[in-house]
Subunit: 147 residues, 2 copies
DNA sequence: GTGTTTGCAAAGTGTTTGCAATTTA
DNA sequence: TAAATTGCAAACACTTTGCAAACAC
């Protein structure tokens, strides 16, 4: 839980996580994994994570941040959220659940599992199978003008 | 309903639509409005609409397509759909309803109004009001591999 | 005529890719 | 040492912006 983390068992946990995902435990991936998974559930953008990484003193490139987010997603450690056409959000919570999207700030927040019930899912078009359901509840400050 | 449309009452209808929106009835906007609203409900991307416009023989620029889509949206004639982080979708159906997103093709399809029931909407975070709810049901060909 | 609209060209944003150098197992 | 990984630089896709010429009312 600090800058140049080498903390025993925690580090081991992250190494394990990467190994299970079939990814080598590189300095960059360990650093990012610590940021991503070391503080509970969270929502990330590549942009934001990169800034955070620099601030935490990690030495890595944007490219690596993008690569890592996609590798983690492919491995099932993260999931992409369909929310904003302008950037990709990733969620550390990979279980089915939904989101608030703050239209003023771009912040995202989980909706508690029982907060929304989607019932009566429709039949998908011919020959198509449902992959998943995303519910985005868009919110904004009570008094703000829709631009 | 053809290339160089000047069809009487139909044209008048579109002029009216624009006027109501506080927009001048320019050649470009009339042409686009015909494409957008002249064939039932549909889902559009700027890219796709531009291609369609060129094919229909309209002479206009991409800039104008982007501008027009946003102006129409501001006027409440279209709405943006949060669906794909890679491009903006617009929907001619501005009433609350939801969507299938075909992950293979990028195609979008409406879910009939009664096809999904979102119940028990959660309380938004402090000081925030709900602007809207988007439900995206992601589908793909029954046999396709998730990349 | 006057304010609006158009569209070119340029800039922007977020993301992906080619590839040589580096690192890990 | 072989294969995976990194990261620079360049390319990309889509979108927005500045501004002078063209247009609608």
């Amino acid at each position: 839980m600090n800058t140049q983390s080498q903390s025993g068992s925690h580090d081991a946990y992250l190494r394990d996580l990467l190994q299970q995902a079939g990814l080598r435990a590189t300095r960059q991936r360990l650093g990012l994994a610590e940021l991503i998974f070391g503080q509970g559930e969270r929502h990330l953008t590549a942009e934001g994570l990169y800034a955070e990484a620099l601030q935490a003193g990690l030495r890595l490139s944007q490219t690596t941040v993008y690569n890592t987010l996609h590798q983690f997603t492919r491995a099932g450690l993260l999931r992409e959220i369909l929310a904003d056409p302008r950037r990709i959000y990733f969620d550390t919570n990979v279980d089915p659940h939904h989101h608030f999207l703050d239209e003023d700030t771009g912040d995202m927040e989980d909706i508690p599992a029982d907060g929304v019930a989607v019932s009566a899912l429709p039949t998908p078009p011919q020959g198509k199978a449902i992959e998943g359901v995303d519910v985005i509840v868009r919110v904004r400050s009570a008094g703000s003008t829709p631009a």
